[in-house]
């Protein structure tokens, strides 16, 4: 597409990058076909092509545009459009630039600001979250569906096995995962021990910054990312690997090289990003040593967007589950987001619920015994409204 960005914007690295990305777009509209919000809302401005156009206008005029802000807020950042785009438009990156440009200039409502504050200051802090949620865990069934994911399914005792000098596999606990679905980390540690791998957690692992990125809180995100990169880098031995079992964290950490480029944490970030693998990617070579813990179950797999579109790993989970002998039911529209999308379920409850219902209908169409996911966000989001149990796929592996 033709662009006419102002010189001042083009002089910045963000402006340069935005221009490159915009120029790659040919306005074909293929992206709308796989965009979850376009499917629900049917409005050009709620699809990637329209959002790209709104951002282009905003950059060109140099003025924040409140209309653009509504439509950018409605984007799930699932990046299904990137998988579909034949022209290689890095939509997710453009959206980051667009949101970062807009956010400081927006006057958000008090309610909106409170929600965001709560998300940012509570969710990524396991101890704060635990203090608040543990005593009221029994309230979970009484909460409105969309708030249920905020309370843990099981008690959040943290798994003790800290990384030491002999550790070669660092397991990312995930700030939300360790509180809300601790079974995932426990199981992963067991698997690693059984495989004879020296695996452990980093004690001072904080939030990876993914949530703040979602909320376009740039400064906050940079702080979190730099701190996590430094902690992981310190613990990471030569030839070591970092394994993420929450694909939402994995997609962020894997991108540290780009996200931290040009900052003091650039070197740490690049090394950490290079060493990070999703747990399915990591375990695939060991598939013949793994077994199904409940082989009689029929599973429906929900592949999180952060795994299939973000990390470009659409098949790894199904490959392992098939290798250990599970029967997987077919699921239509596997590329579509379930509506969880980080904090989206709280900020955009209507669209989020609609997408969750559609996803559950697709997952349940062949009556599976269990639905499995690869990300804590999707898992808890779906579990909150599903009659079929929803688990992390690791829970079904030994």
């Amino acid at each position: 597409m033709r662009t006419q960005l102002p010189e001042a914007f083009l002089a910045t690295s963000q402006g340069q990058r935005a221009n490159e990305i915009l120029r790659a777009c040919v306005h074909c509209g293929f992206c709308n076909a796989t965009c979850p919000t376009y499917q629900v809302l049917g409005d050009e401005r709620d699809g990637p092509r329209g959002r790209i156009y709104l951002m282009k206008e905003m950059f060109e005029s140099g003025e924040p545009n409140l209309i653009a802000s509504d439509h950018l807020d409605r984007c799930l950042t699932c990046r299904a459009c990137e998988t579909t785009c034949p022209s290689g438009v890095d939509y997710g990156e453009l959206l980051e630039i667009g949101r970062a440009t807009l956010e400081p200039k927006l006057q958000r409502s008090l309610m909106e600001r409170m929600k965001r504050f709560f998300m940012l200051r509570l969710l990524p802090h396991p101890h704060r979250l635990a203090r608040i949620t543990a005593p009221v865990r029994w309230l979970r069934p009484l909460l409105p569906r969309r708030l249920r994911p905020l309370l843990p399914i099981a008690s959040g005792k943290s798994v003790a096995s800290s990384a030491d000098d002999s550790t070669s596999v660092i397991l990312l606990q995930g700030c939300v995962q360790r509180q809300l679905t601790p079974a995932t980390n426990e199981r992963l540690l067991n698997i690693c021990q059984r495989l004879g791998l020296r695996a452990g957690f980093v004690a001072d692992e904080g939030c990876c910054g993914g949530l703040a990125l979602h909320l376009a809180e740039e400064t906050h995100a940079q702080e979190r990312m730099a701190a996590t990169a430094s902690a992981l880098n310190e613990a990471l031995p030569d030839d070591g690997v970092i394994v993420s079992s929450a694909s939402g964290c994995g997609v962020t950490v894997k991108d540290y090289g780009r996200l931290l480029a040009g900052t003091v944490a650039a070197e740490d970030g690049a090394r950490v990003a290079e060493a990070t693998l999703d747990v399915a990617e990591f375990l695939l070579p060991y598939a013949d040593q793994l077994t199904a813990s409940q082989p009689q179950l029929r599973l429906a797999v929900q592949t999180p967007c952060t795994l299939q579109h973000g990390q470009k790993l659409p098949d790894v989970v199904t490959q392992i589950l098939e290798a250990v002998g599970y029967e997987l039911v077919s699921v239509s529209d596997p590329h579509l987001c379930c509506g969880s999308a980080g904090v989206y379920s709280v900020l955009q409850p209507k669209i989020s619920s609609e997408l969750a219902e559609r996803k559950l209908a697709a997952l349940n169409s062949e009556q599976p015994d269990v639905i499995v996911s690869a990300n804590v966000g999707c898992q808890t989001h779906l579990a909150g409204r599903s009659k079929t149990p929803v688990k992390h796929w690791l829970e079904l592996i030994e």
Binding site: M1, H27, F30, A33, D43, Y53, L54, E57, N65, S87
Partner: protein, 484 residues
């Protein structure tokens, strides 16, 4: 016209968020798939029910407001380009598949249903919808009818017009019309054929009855690589002459191969000058017999290699590169201008050579991707819209290509429609009498000319001006063509 009153009436007849009036919010609707043209409409209407469509039309007719209908906005000729001061009527929310009838082999759908979604939904009962434009993942059925869309499989199964049994919709007056039905033939003149390719100038379509077909029992895809483009072109004619009608027969040249290969890694040979993708379908025996025959023809035409994909995954991969070839070209140049012309099969080699010469003359690269089996060319002219004058150059190049198509006995559009883009080229193809008849036919449906004005049929004034523009060195190009 009292504008606020009209706005009020429109708002009252549309759902919440169904009327967009703020220019900043309208902006993303200013172009369809052809960004070389853009125009801001007065307002955008997004109905989610058929009755709202009728109401919008009635109001606009009463106040003489032009209406442009838009579906997925993927068209490549600017057919859904808004009209300044007009209403842009977007039907993307009318996206329900109403029913699929496995006995009758039909699907009844709303216009905003995506082309591919029909085949996806019909697959569970063993059926598919044959016309498959390359944009089938995103383009919608309403637009397919309006532009009479084609696609890879049209060689064997026909264009949209051959796969639609009936349409329902509204005239500009808001009166309902039903054309065709579930039977193969209906009494009276074949108005269904008139509506196909009418580019939203006759009826606003709100329901289409599609003809479905059995998914063939067996299928395979062959890819033949050629070192010389003209050999590939001749092979196309030879396959058809051998009495074989493949389900699809596509050709891509070097530049297109390279762009598509970089995107999907389909296994296209980047050192070949041209490849042919040929799909054979039918019963197992028929497909195998045709495979042997086609291989013989291809090697006789000096193919360097022939690869056969039998598994579904491999077939899908070979096709994916072709289907995504247009936007994939977006990876090698900032912009491209997609042409659409049709020529007789025997003229393919000659016209391709002519396009190569023009490419040299204009100093713009061109990638060729096309439905070789039915002679439907899609040269993609690469240019940079941020460089002043390059778009004009690309357009002039494109017009020369279309002129070459007409000269070779072909036409200025294969399947993308005329839209706004090919109005001038229409002047080259048709004479005064024909154009006047087109206009009369249109007026029979919409006497005031309020539906999608300024598209598809050039005015005679425009044509005489175009004629004047193209005089070089005192000589009219293509003097043998009828003019006025």
């Amino acid at each position: 016209m009292t504008t606020p009153l009209v706005l009020e009436m429109l708002r009252a007849n549309l759902p919440a968020e169904g009327l967009i009036t703020d220019p900043k919010a309208i902006k993303p609707f200013e172009s369809d798939g052809l960004t070389a043209f853009s125009a801001m409409p007065w307002v955008v209407c997004l109905p989610d029910r058929e009755s709202q469509v009728a109401a919008v039309l009635r109001i606009c007719r009463e106040h003489s407001i032009p209406v442009v209908t838009r579906g997925a906005g993927t068209g490549l000729s600017g057919g859904a380009l808004p009209v300044a001061k007009g209403v842009l009527l977007v039907l993307s929310r009318l996206n329900k598949i109403k029913r699929i009838d496995a006995q009758q082999l039909t699907a009844v759908v709303e216009p905003g249903v995506r082309n591919l979604a029909v085949s996806e939904a019909a697959a569970s009962v063993g059926l598919f919808y044959a016309p498959d434009p390359s944009s089938q993942i995103a383009c919608s059925i309403g637009g397919n009818v309006a532009e009479n869309a084609g696609g890879v499989h049209c060689l064997k199964y026909g264009l949209t017009v051959h796969n639609v049994l009936g349409v329902r919709g509204y005239l500009m007056t808001g009166e309902p019309v039903a054309i065709g039905g579930e039977a193969f033939d209906v009494p009276g003149a074949d108005l269904l054929a008139v509506v196909h390719g009418s580019e939203g100038q006759m009826v606003v379509i709100t329901e289409v009855t599609l003809r479905l077909r059995q998914i063939p029992r067996s299928k395979l895809v062959m890819m033949a690589a050629f070192a010389v483009v003209s050999n590939a072109a001749d092979a196309v004619a030879d396959v058809i002459s051998a009495g074989i009608i493949p389900a699809g027969m596509e050709m891509m040249d070097k530049l297109a191969i390279s762009a598509a290969e970089d995107f999907v890694g389909a296994g296209y040979p980047k050192d070949a000058d041209a490849i042919l993708l040929i799909e054979l379908d039918g019963d197992v025996d028929e497909v195998q017999a045709n495979r042997t025959a086609v291989e013989r023809v291809l090697f006789a035409a000096s193919a360097d290699s022939v690869v056969v994909a039998e598994s579904e995954t491999e077939q899908a991969r070979l096709w994916l590169g072709r289907k995504a070839a247009f936007p994939a070209v977006g990876r090698i140049a900032p912009d491209y201008y997609c042409m659409d012309g049709t020529i007789p099969r025997k003229a393919v080699a000659g016209v391709l050579q002519r396009i190569g010469e023009l490419s040299q003359r204009y100093g713009l690269q061109v990638a060729n991707v096309f439905h070789a089996g039915d002679g439907n060319l899609h040269p993609l002219i690469l240019y940079d819209a941020n460089v002043d004058g390059e778009l004009d150059k690309a357009e002039a190049f494109g017009n020369d290509i279309l002129a070459a198509c007409v000269e070779a006995g072909g036409s200025v559009t294969g399947e993308h429609g005329v839209g706004i883009e090919k109005l001038d080229a229409m002047c080259g193809q048709f004479g005064r009498i024909e154009l006047e008849q087109f206009a009369r036919l249109r007026a029979a449906f919409d006497p005031d000319g309020l539906l999608n004005p300024g598209k598809a049929i050039p005015t005679l004034t425009r044509c005489s001006e175009v004629g004047g523009m193209h005089v070089h060195a005192g000589e009219l190009p293509f003097r043998h063509l009828p003019r006025f």
